[in-house]
Amino acid sequence: MPCKTILVADDSATMRMIVQATLASENWSVLVACNGKDALAAIADQSVDLVVTDWNMPVMGGLGLIQGLRASAQHRDVPVLVLTTEEDQESKLAARDLGVRGWLGKPVDPDVLLDMATEILMQPQASIL
């Protein structure tokens, strides 16, 4: 697979490290940010092939990040994977309305994350889960 760029947004350093370590490979480069605002800033000048984001973050959360992506010409169609806890129905609905590719419940299983990321990157335009 040609080189892909993944953006990871999570306010927990531990989670960032785990997700980054899971996704880092020769063909994927991983950018990290600790909230939605920093995430958008990180990809202001470059393209990204997948966004993996937490929902609850300070300054700007997952909702704001996705809205920001959808509002930008460059990143409008980038697939988004959301990391969230199972109980949060409201946020699931909100994100679905914004068109995310999938959910991943916390605690994150690195293998499942890797599978989902691989699948999305191989089929960026696939329909919404």
Binding site: D11, A13, C34, P58
Partner: protein, 746 residues
Amino acid sequence: MDLSQFFDTFFDEADELLAQMEQLLLELDVNTPDIEQLNAIFRAAHSIKGGAATFGCFQHLAETTHLLENLLDEIRRGEMALRTDMIDTFLETKDVLKSQLDAYRASAVPDEETFTRICGILRQIADEHREAVQGGGAAASSAVAPVAAPVAAPVAAAAAMPAAEVAPAATAAPVQVAPVAAASAPVAVAATAASADTSLPLCVRISGVSGKDAQSLLEEMGHLGRVLGHEQGAESLTVWVESTCSADDIEAVCCFIVDGDQIGISREAYDAQAPAATPAAPAPAQTAAPVPAAVQQAAQEAANVVAQAQSTSAGDISITTNAAPAAPSAPAAPRAAAKPAASAAGADKENTSIRVGVEKVDQVINLVGELVITQAMLAQIASTLDPVLHDRLLNGMEQLERNARDLQESVMSIRMMPMDYVFSRFPRVVRDIATKMGKQIELQTIGRATELDKSLIERIIDPLTHLVRNSLDHGIETPEKRIAAGKDPVGNLMLSAQHSGGNIVIEVSDDGGGLNRERLLQKAISQGIAISENASDDEVWQLIFAPGFSTAEKVTDISGRGVGMDVVRRNIQDMGGHVQLSSTPGEGTTTRIVLPLTLAILDGMSVRVGQETFILPLNHVTESLQPTADQIYSVTGNERVLLVRGEYLPLVEMHRVFDVAGAQADPMQAIAVIMQAQERRFALLVDHLVGQHQVVVKNLESNYRKVPGVSAATILGDGSVALIIDVFALARANREKSFSAEALLN
């Protein structure tokens, strides 16, 4: 993928989140809680839970945090009303989470009992809320509030960990490492049964303590009461003492020497005949773990950064390049200061920082010290050269000196940490004690960004905590008393830190009842301490520092009762500083601590005695003069005093003290350097002055031992070793000789 490589990152992050959580909980306004603060608290719990759950092996942590997170979620959505007792519970939960984290760090299992208890309390809050909601819910807010408090107390006693109640112990080390040893249980049962019976003496059990420390502890307890007997094992000490002091007080004093989790206090009859019961001390192995954790916590809280790089083990310093200032340096009330800090925390998380082992930093500091010495030596040689012929060389030397000095300052600043690290633990301490004593107290901190060397920061925590406790305990009155005295029922406690010259001045100030001069005098006289009725106020306040001074009876009217104040002063003096009290009856008391900014470099005055060179700490030197005949008076035998501007100062002859042959014995041919050690002044006789310069302080004790009268050593420009004088020791040696004008005129 092996997730255990991320454990340390998680532990550090969780530590930081818990600290943030505590700070925010303390600032919450119960009646109108700030939604941003609530969100931040929720996110902290949420993050910790997420991490704990991800790893899969931190069940206790995950479950406890899960319950907490749910409650916080309901509160931030406005579904559940926030009550003060809930905040208390959340703070307690934070303590439990911290102890769980510490257990995991030490590869141990968190205490089951504590876990069950706290989860029970959290569930109860959730259940009550649910019932109230189902019952048509206006009564939700008046739910049974006192539930948390009585549940906590007996269980705390049963755990036989007075640490839960004693703030100083809690702040000094992560004491909440739950007592793992099952052996502690039988003692705990006995303790609970006997704790109510105050006619029994206190039995203090200390583990992991060596001969010298055990001696010191025994001595201290002798000051606090009457020691009925003691037993000393290879690594432990058990003392039975009768005292009017509470177990808390005794533990607080012991905490100057050992950690809280090495101490267990119960009430037991002393049977001189019976063989010693096996001291049910917590596993000594635990004492090894908390220290690294404390230092790591220190690094985290100071730098306010989550480490990205691999973390090393004990003793790390984090270096941060901050985009935003960590805290305003202007005076700021805790609320205002915390808000920028809290919001900056989110942004600061991505700052570049590296974790560096303390040994590496010390090594760099040492090498820079060597550089300074070499540069001084070159300067000395260069000073003998013809300035005209060698002007370029001399210019270069000047430049080198500037470079060396700048480098040194820069390197020293690596070890400097803001006082906030110390001050930040006090809001919790103040709140806990105020609640316990039924007092209302507002804490103000000024100068949180003022910096101090890391080693001194660690050492100032205990004494400062003691002083704060005293102010809260004995300084600030109950609201009723304050109202009766025409004061605001809310007492004020102020902690401040500022730089002054080469020192840092830290003050603990309260607007309480002040010190009672008459009572102190009477107590001193009744204890046989020599002090005149006309002594100055300052001298009377100094009585507080006398060992074992105020323990004769529990007199609630004496403010500033000083259990362990002598230890406080000694600790501060050992750090090269001094402490003094000032007080106005009815208005309050202020304790002022002056410390050198760092112990590594000293401004010194070098003096010659015979063929030897000694260094006097410049900040203790007031002036120097050549004595004239009419200034010198003989007192007894071969002791003399020097009359300087109406004051008779003991004349201490260096050549006598240090047995130097070939020195100038005639005072009128010598130089008298007037020294000041806290409140004592004396005149030090030397042959002549050599010069003033900065010296790099070298420890004598690493390879040798403590030398009386000498605080440390340094290496002069010529490579030779010069001893640095211990001013306090010389002053103490003269303590017994009090010279008054009347005695001399007779």
